[in-house]
């Protein structure tokens, strides 16, 4: 049913309930002017809205009722019981029609002439004589099925939605927050005392609390489309004012996020779209001259990733001009020429986030009114988000905003500095690096050997500590020094840990003494008298009842004078943006290196395939049948071991690589996580061992590359078995991909998702398969391929043959709006970034009929969870 209609029905049902009460009140006190005008207003609103929605029958009745009420309001008619009864009869008819609407989405058929005539009679001032007839009339006029619907009004929409004040929801959220804290406290006590009578009920309480928390969170969730709905109008007006042609394309409107976050994002989003339209896009003439289509495009895309929401705002406009920015930076003395010369283009682009920076030569009425990107950035950072920027001169700009799903309860890393503990939100933690601190900080060269053996060393440039991390210099800040904490002498130990955090487009290492654990914390704002300490974003109560402060890495960076946005020399290589996966066989990819199964050969897996890394304590791993599971956020996650599972259970803490797909996840138990390296991934030797794709040289060492598809099926055969059974015929796919690595990665993944997969190593081979009569349901193809590119291939497929009308999905590292457009022009039905398994699967499901979509629902996971708990 139309959203608008649903809203109208909800609202009208409320009005009708009010109307009944008011009419009865009016009958008792016929000269009650406020009640009369209330009734008039309610009926008038109904009439007005249904005229707008195109509901003629409802409009007719409401109009007749309104005429009578108008006469009463003007004092021409007295609200005698007879008149009120007639109006009530009209209201009853409205209810009847509304119920019919709620049930079918259509106005029910029926004849209202008698009723309308009776109302008009009264309105015309003629006697209310035919009242009795008119009141009786509805029942006889109404069709039989309608009487039925009228008899069960609660089953309609009125019963499904209610309005709840935001305050009530906020209060509920606060209470749930307290409940979570109390639960954590109880669990902590229970862990300390060992198993007793309380253990089982406490487990249940814990689960119920988690469910309740999720439920209450859900009530606060709103689709991001709510923050976007004003944008098309805004863009239209802007296009008008500036004489540009602009299309706005909004995707992922249904992506839900906490309403508090949504409210805070509304203004920055509006500002950025306005910027894109005003500064980013060119005039039609300029675009023509640049060889582009006259109409510029602004694309908004929102999606979930991990516990975050990513929002992309991109345009295919002129892009950022590094030259102009450089000139402006010099003019405003934000950096010296020498500093600028040492900066990369991305770092120079980063200057647009600096305070008081605007490249628009003239301040127009639209943007550039003093509210710059710096305000946008600080607004986003205030809610624990980050904003990144990628721009190609002449091609366009893309901003990627990463924000937490909710601000109320977040996952945080608990660390110690001095004798105090602090929480660092997980969203900003990229990795943890153990370092030999004391030795190096002391500058003692003789002890360097000791720390070099296993630990990375902190080096000093002058008095500034830095860490050489994978050939980059990472600026370091010691938390104890920054917060002026006394050294804790009671805890000797020379080692520290660097918490590598993402700040803006750069990175910052925060040096702490100890890292404890991750904990779900309830964020509470700090008292107003502490608001000036911007290093803290809030405070929280831990499971043991102690109060600790939550660190804001961006605030820490600012306080330490480290600029995350361009002023930081060569140290902070900008991270890839927008192109979530530029990884290609010829390019460097981030690889997670680990050891598993007691094997000394390191294993590697592309980092982008790993949803997260967990460190599960021994007692949280529970055997189920032949396998193991652990609880994560109240759900069971199957754990798979690469070697003998029993050896895994001898460890106190078990490192786990978590692979997630759709709503389900599985964990791979490994021996240790070695490193994350950026390297080319070329599989040199194939493997016939299950679960491994082959061997590649990574960071100068041979490593086995993991076949994630295989391990996903190991997670639980039930998922796939159950799905396959419900699916009468497996859909067939053809994968066209020149890189052996990606082909070997894709085929098992898609097979695991229940498809029957054929593969071709080149477009030419694929076309040969077509000509030989291979029947498939959809094609997944790479774009960048030697000889015949994916685009040419798509054109060839569309040109004729048995595949001409199949859905075709393009896999690419370059998922910009413009590329997607080119892809679509060539004949691709959808464009999916490489490595984005979830996007590929959902795109496939969507492309392949609704029947296929059912395969990816949550039903399988739910059934599994039930089986395991029984």
């Amino acid at each position: 049913m139309d959203d608008l209609l649903v809203e109208f029905l909800t609202e009208t049902n409320e009005s009708l309930a009010e109307l009944d009460l008011a009419l009865v009140r009016l009958e008792r006190t016929p000269d009650d002017a406020p009640t009369l005008s209330l009734i008039f207003r309610l009926v008038h609103t109904i009439k007005g809205t249904c005229g707008f929605l195109g509901l003629p029958r409802l409009e007719g009745v409401a109009h007749a009722g309104e005429s009578v009420l108008g006469r009463m309001r003007d004092g021409d008619l007295v609200a005698s019981p007879a008149v009120v009864s007639q109006v009530l009869a009209g209201v009853d008819r409205i209810k009847l029609i509304i119920n019919g609407l709620g049930a079918t989405g259509q106005e029910p058929a029926g004849d209202d002439t008698a009723l309308i005539a009776a109302l008009d009679e009264i309105a015309a001032g003629r006697a209310a004589a035919p009242v009795a007839v008119a009141v009786a009339a509805p029942a006889s006029v109404v069709d039989a099925p309608l009487v039925e619907t009228a008899a069960a009004p609660e089953a309609g929409l009125a019963g499904q939605t209610i309005r709840v004040s935001v305050d009530v929801l906020e209060e509920l959220m606060t209470l749930v927050g307290e409940l979570v804290l109390t639960r954590n406290q109880l669990l902590q006590i229970s862990r300390a005392t060992g198993t007793n009578d309380f253990t089982t009920p406490l487990q249940r309480l814990s689960h119920i609390t988690t469910d309740l928390q999720e439920g209450v969170m859900k009530t606060r969730m709103q689709p991001i489309g709510n923050a976007w709905n004003k944008l098309p109008r805004l863009v239209r007006d802007l296009a008008h004012e500036t004489g540009k042609k602009i299309d706005i394309d909004m995707r992922g409107q249904d992506t839900e996020l906490d309403r508090q976050v949504l409210e805070l994002m509304r203004d920055p989003l509006t500002h950025m779209v306005r910027n894109s339209a005003d500064h980013g896009l060119e005039t039609p003439a300029e675009r023509r001259a640049a060889g582009k289509t006259e109409t510029g495009r602004i694309m908004l895309n929102a999606y979930h990733e991990g516990g975050h929401i990513l929002i992309e705002i991109s345009d295919d406009g002129r892009g950022l001009n590094a030259g102009k920015i450089r000139a402006k930076v010099l003019a405003n003395k934000l950096a010296t020429e020498a500093e600028l010369a040492a900066m990369s283009e991305a770092q120079i682009h980063g200057f647009i986030f600096r305070a008081g920076f605007s490249t628009a030569a003239a301040v127009t009425a639209i943007s550039g009114r003093g509210v710059g990107m710096d305000v946008v950035r600080s607004n986003i950072e205030r809610i624990g988000g980050t904003v990144e920027l990628a721009s190609v001169d002449g091609k366009g700009t893309c901003f990627t905003i990463k924000i937490p799903l909710t601000l109320a309860i977040v996952s945080a890393l608990i660390v110690r500095a001095g004798s105090e503990r602090f929480a660092i939100p997980q969203i900003s933690v990229m990795e943890l690096v153990r370092v030999g601190r004391q030795a190096s900080l002391a500058g003692d060269t003789t002890s360097a050997e000791a720390s070099a053996a296993t630990l990375m060393a902190v080096e000093l440039i002058g008095t500034t500590p830095v860490l050489r991390l994978r050939n980059r210099l990472l600026p370091l800040i010691s938390l104890s020094t920054l917060l002026r904490l006394e050294k804790d002498t009671s805890r000797p130990g020379s080692d520290g840990t660097v918490v590598v955090t993402a700040i803006g487009s750069g990175m910052l290492g925060i040096l702490v003494d100890d890292v404890y654990d991750t904990e779900e914390i309830v964020v509470k704002p700090v008292a107003p008298i502490l608001r000036h300490v911007t290093m803290f974003s809030g405070n929280t109560i831990l499971g043991d009842g102690s109060v600790i402060m939550i660190l804001d890495p961006n605030g820490v960076a600012r306080a330490a004078g480290v600029s995350a946005h361009g002023g930081n020399g060569r140290g902070d290589a900008p991270r890839e943006v927008c192109l979530a996966a530029t990884q290609h066989s010829g390019e460097q990819v981030a690889l997670l290196v680990f050891r598993a199964g007691g094997d000394s050969t390191p294993r590697a897996v592309p980092l982008s395939l790993v949803a997260r890394l967990e460190d599960v304590s021994r007692e949280k791993i529970e055997p189920v049948g032949a396998g193991f599971v652990t609880q994560y956020r109240g759900k069971l996650m199957p754990l798979v071991s690469m070697g003998d599972a029993q050896t895994c259970l001898t460890r106190e803490r078990q490192p786990v690589l978590v692979f997630a797909e759709g709503g389900r996840s599985m964990g791979l138990m490994v021996d240790e996580i070695v490193d994350v390296v950026h390297d080319h991934l070329r599989i040199e030797l194939g493997s016939d061992r299950p679960g491994l794709l082959g061997t590649a040289v990574i960071a100068g060492q041979a490593a086995d590359v993991l076949d994630t598809g295989y391990w996903l099926t190991q997670g639980s055969h039930d998922w796939f078995a159950g799905n396959a059974a419900s699916n009468t015929r497996q859909k067939r796919l053809l994968v066209v991909e020149d890189s052996d690595f990606f082909r070997q990665l894709l085929v098992p993944t898609l097979t695991a998702a229940g498809y029957e997969v054929s593969a071709a190593a080149s477009a030419a081979e694929a076309l040969r398969l077509r000509d030989s009569g291979l029947v498939v349901d959809a094609i997944v193809s790479d774009i960048e391929m030697p000889e015949m590119s994916g685009l040419e291939f798509a054109r060839a497929v569309r040109a004729g043959g048995i595949w001409a009308h199949l859905p075709m999905i393009a896999l690419t590292g370059r998922a910009s709006a413009e590329d997607a457009e080119i892809g679509r022009d060539a004949g691709f039905s959808d464009y999916v970034p490489k490595f984005d398994r979830a996007a590929l699967l959902s795109s496939l499901a969507q492309s392949l009929s609704d029947a296929a979509a059912g395969m990816f629902g949550d039903a399988g996971t739910g059934a599994l969870a039930r089986e395991m708990t029984v």
């Binding site: 105090e420 917060l483 509470k524 107003p528 008298i529 502490l530 803290f536 102690s546 402060m549």
Partner: protein, 160 residues
């Protein structure tokens, strides 16, 4: 949580009397309107807050709510408590936030006639005058009536 002293519901009544919680700060008798006090707490575990103004002693957890503790000795520029001397706290609410005012000792609740409140003598040190509503002459001592609102008006500027 350590024991909590519940305060009898003594309120300002119609006869023009006011009820105060009596406390001591470095041997000075002070009073806080009973209506401003939510709880009286014995010594609490307080988590320090780095970089906070010096008069902010830290945070404490009061039945799941975070309370900011203010050291009234520091606030009123009095010498610090001797080592080992436990503090008591009066919990008060302002703008939906809870604050714990740390004092040396909380003794009793008294009801005094409103008319007996005398204005601050002009010779009262500025730091006291700033935070006092007036003075009561008790049998043999003076009691300074503290203004909770002004005590909580800590500005970051004062901190530095």
């Amino acid at each position: 949580m350590s024991e909590t002293v519940t305060i009898p519901p003594v309120t300002a009544n119609l006869t023009g009397e006011r009820a105060y919680v009596i406390l001591t700060l470095a041997d000075q008798l002070c009073g806080v309107p009973v209506l401003a006090v939510r709880d009286v707490l014995a010594d609490q575990r307080i988590a320090r807050i780095p970089l906070a103004p010096p008069e902010v002693a830290g945070n404490l957890n009061l039945r799941g709510r975070i309370v900011t503790a203010i050291d009234l000795r520091k606030r009123l520029h009095l010498p610090p408590r001797e080592a080992g001397q436990a503090a008591m706290s009066l919990v008060t609410e302002q703008g939906n936030e809870l604050y714990a005012l740390q004092v040396d000792q909380v003794s009793e609740v008294v009801t005094l006639p409103a008319a007996d409140l005398e204005p601050n003598p002009p010779t009262l040190p500025a730091i006291w005058a700033e935070h006092a509503e007036g003075i009561y002459r008790m049998e043999n001592r003076l009691m300074v009536v503290l203004d909770v609102g002004r005590l909580l008006a800590i500005t970051p500027a004062q901190a530095s």
